[in-house]
Amino acid sequence: MKKVGVLSLQGDFAAHGAALERAGAAPVYVRERAQLGEIDGLILPGGESTTMLKLLRYENLLDDLAEFGRRKPMFGTCAGAILMARGVTHPAQESLGLMDIVVERNAYGRQLDSRVVELNPSPEFEKRTAPGKLEAVFIRAPIIRGAGARVRVLAEYAGDAVLVEQGRHLVATFHPELTSDARVHSLFLEKL
């Protein structure tokens, strides 16, 4: 069985672990560099991107993650999406540059602007997983403000791409790990 890592420095890594189990995979909670060698793909969870960046820098893990992403699939949600982007605004901060997207942090506003919505995913998403609406939980979420030609949109909300893929990588600005629908995690497992 393929082994999927969940970066477990800070944030909702336990929720991703439970979501992976629902999708039929066993999670590896990655806290140290050496664990990157044991896994076939890595999830960057939600949480505070500034906290995760601080911890990644302190433990000299940034280059290892970027290198991992050049060989293996990665899936980022919310803060994880911010870390995987090519560019970050509001305010600008360092990122891994694995996805050709520019992301604005906290773009919907504060917690009172957090929301649960139902999305109509693209026909392609439904074909590769299963048909049906997709529940999306946005919490102090970022918005993808720009995307390169190689980025494919799998779901939109209010005109903005919220679930996108580029080659082996997948990014959601919402939290599929906080719903019982395992399709987004299943889609990631297909990439391994």
Binding site: S8, L9, Q10, G11, D12, F13, A14, A15, R31, G46, G47, E48, T50, T51, K54, L55, Y58, C78, A79, H90, P91, R105, N106, G109, R110, Q111, L112, S114, R115, V116, V137, I139, R140, H175, L178
Partner: protein, 296 residues
């Protein structure tokens, strides 16, 4: 009526989930908030005086000054929490109107109601509440709290009460998991907690909301200790800005929260920190001045 599955409750608990593994730091102005964010805090708690000063100066401690909270909200991009007095639902409504990301209905402030806590279900903003045992935690969750933290003894710089509270909550949860279904009603009666929440804990062995620790954390070792005992994140009140080198200590406690399982890294985080905040022996605090006995 309380519902786990309601959209609003899921959004509240969702933000609490995002704060796991992190450190939430008390700050009293925008400059401190910036230091906290730069050190890797996952959220800040805006208040007028840190608990050790409230303890020293006495008087009535209320919700913070609006201008201070606004300045902090403008300065940092991480979530901003603020404290309301126990039972003071109008302070809470004002904080909600201000747009803070989380409200702490806190025993650190002077209680406004000695009988009733805030009915938190109807608020759109999530609440965190303190607890000393499982019954208290479940009563607060029943009222709509989306996060529980140990009360510990705020402003004491002494970890002993936070340890007592996290151990009590974890032990009482474990005990529920071995009870038969017919025993849960009596357990709910003894805990003075809603039966449906007691049943949930008995089935799952944990709280239905994130379980954090607060009240006396002053060193990286303290943070690691409460996380070893089952806390999923920590609040640091006076411990940072009452120490001799706040930026460095803030940083070290963030590292400790991530590395609570790794003594070598904890050793690294514990080096060159300067002096911790002065601590208080709990038995030397007059009973009437204990903060943890506020609320029920």
């Amino acid at each position: 009526m309380f519902q786990f599955s309601s959209e609003q409750f899921r959004l509240k608990v969702g933000l609490a989930e995002m704060l796991k593994g992190g450190v939430i730091m008390d700050v009293t102005n925008a400059e401190q908030a910036k230091i906290a964010e730069d050190a890797g805090a996952s959220a800040v708690m805006a208040l007028e005086r840190v608990p050790s000063d409230i303890r020293k100066e006495g008087g009535v401690a209320r919700m913070a000054n609006i201008e201070i909270m606004e300045a902090i909200m403008k300065t940092v991009n991480i979530p901003v929490m603020a404290k309301a007095r126990i039972g003071h639902f109008m302070e809470a409504r004002i904080l909600e109107a201000l747009g803070v990301d989380f409200i702490d209905e806190s025993e650190v402030l002077t209680p406004a109601d000695e009988e009733h806590h805030i009915d938190k279900i109807d608020f759109k903003v999530p609440f965190v509440c303190g607890a000393r045992n499982l019954g208290e935690a479940l009563r607060r969750i029943g009222e709509g709290a989306a996060m529980i933290r140990t009360k510990g003894e705020a402003g004491s710089g002494n970890i002993v009460e936070a340890v007592r509270h996290i151990r009590t909550i974890v032990r009482e949860m474990k005990q529920l998991t071995v009870l038969g279904a017919e025993e849960l009603s009596a357990a709910a009666k003894n805990l003075q907690a809603p039966l449906e929440l007691v049943e949930w804990v008995a089935r799952n062995g944990k709280l239905p909301v994130p379980n954090f620790s607060a009240g006396g954390i002053a060193t990286p070792a303290d943070a690691a200790l409460v996380m070893q005992l089952g806390a999923e994140a920590v609040f640091v009140g006076s411990g940072i800005f009452k120490s001799s080198d706040p930026a460095n200590r803030a940083n070290a406690i963030v590292m400790a929260a991530k590395n609570y399982n790794n003594p070598e890294k904890l050793l690294e985080a514990s080096r060159s920190l300067g002096a911790a905040m002065p601590g208080l022996e709990i038995s030397k605090i007059p009973e009437g001045e204990l903060l943890q006995t506020r609320g029920w």
